[in-house]
Amino acid sequence: MAAIYIAEVSKIYTGGVEAVKSVSIDIADGEFIVLVGPSGCGKSTLLRMVAGLETISRGTVTIGPRVVNTVDPAERDVAMVFQNYALYPHMTVYENLAYGLRNRKTPKVEIDARVAEAARMLEIEPYLDRKPRALSGGQRQRVAMGRAIVRKPAAFLFDEPLSNLDAKLRVSMRGEIKRLQKRLGTTSLYVTHDQLEAMTLADRLVVLNGGRIEQIGRPLDVYHAPASTFVASFIGSPAMNLVKGTLAGGRLHIGTHAIDLDHSASAEGPVTVGLRAEDLRLASAGEQALLFRVAYVEELGAQRLVHGTVEEQELTIALPPEAPLANELAIAVPIDRLHFFSAENGSRLHRPRGTGVAAGAAPARPQAVNLEPAL
């Protein structure tokens, strides 16, 4: 077990493409960090640099007490779980688990004990004599995790380990990974493009975009205070609505609509307004509202997602399934849950809604009960 320090690490491929641009992350001992971002954002490259499978162009990676930039992958004391499991097809499950230990000249008795322990933990004991091809996807994934566990490494590196599983299995394996990591307390770095996995697994998540860090933070902090429009649209499902508007004199103008804000916005002029679909609801009479034209509805059972436009700008609203629908709806704007981003570079404009400060605006939100998001 060890802390990992990634300091100003860059990856520049021959040909000059910079896949990772000066990324720094401090990972505490035992912490579960999720790197999340769209494909091509450099998250896998970063993970592979920590694993030693890619060379580090600039910066340093420190695992535990030593800088590992030039250390062989095998000597870095990390274990990796791959998306396609990467089990050795010709070896039995037992041999797959034991291979890394054997290469390290671990005594046979010790290997047996560790494999047995990992197998028990992952409930793969009945399959130890089987070849990977005789196993289901979920079982293979367990074996892949087992191979990481038996090594008792300083850190686990996960490279989209659940992407090849079906949706149901993914949910249960997700829980299992979390449980296992908490139990073993091993520092983990986990790469995924799935924001749901990122939210549910991470102690802290790192949102990457185009090789740069957009935001690092605890899942709920990132959700409630995305640092940029990119993070806002990436974290949370459905994605946060981003609408163009203008701030002027304590009022927000969206097209012809004008909304009174309770707290003076720090900026004036054009902004991008972020509205979470689950923060929006139907307006009751007399409330300030936006006129919303419904395009189509997605029924999810627990809620319905209504897609449509406000002033020709696309918007999605999550409504309770019993909410009445019409072609045009009046939408209440939760002024204390608005996010403002710079219209130019998409960065967040004012301080995140602190628990103390923004709550002082309580009189402005008489419908607070209805507004509690169903997290």
């Binding site: 499978l53 095998a74 791959f82 010709h90």
Partner: protein
Amino acid sequence: MHRTRIIDHVILLIGAFIMVTPVVVAFMTSTHDAADIHRNGLSLTWGGHFAETYETVLTREGGFTGKVTGFNMMMNSMILGLGFAVGKIVLSMLAAYAIVYFRFPLATFFFWVIFTTLLLPLEVRILPSYEVMNALKLTNTYTGLIVPLLASATGTFYFRQFFKSVPDELLEAARIDGAGPFKFFIDVLVPLSRTMMAAIFIIMFVYGWNQYLWPTLMTTDEGFFTLVRGIKQILLVWVGSNIPDYNEAFALAILAMLPPVMIVVIFQRWFIKGLTESDK
């Protein structure tokens, strides 16, 4: 599902008939004595001289020196066939391993150089190869017979394609598991290539077994004669009595056919798997 109809069987039977008949004729004819064959030509009936003909062919010491038996020649063919097959597999696996897994300057260029030699038959380079072997004083040795033909573009190409289909993650997992280049090759690639190796083995064994021109050039000592050459020798050498020993020539031909057939029969399952299996 396509239902098998009689016509399908008829086509198969005709095919099998065309393929098998010459072999049957050769075998049946080989059981007659030479005079009989000379008089009646090929025959489809059992001649009754099976045991003595085959015994003669295998054990009689013949040739100019009077020392080569059919059994000797069979051993030589076997050494050539096995040497070819094993040597080519080892060499082409190592070459393919280098090309696929190591980044060295001009790797692609070298691959294509090897690949182009696919287009050149052995005969194109047979004289220079002979010159080299002669200069190295390797004529009339097994080394001289086998080594110059070991480089195999076909084998290298097959193994390259196969190694390319092995997922990269396997290499990465092995690296993290502490396996160096040599260990990865032995512990992972070689076991994974088993079916491929079987397929190449069959092709190369038969190729080596059937070599005629190269052994003819390389060996003058009859102790190195192969079966395929022996057949020719019988018809040339024992022509004195006016009646060539057709029966022995046929018997030798049948014997020459046997090992490749057996190899194919034994390895058939892996052979087909090796050439068709993509799922690992």
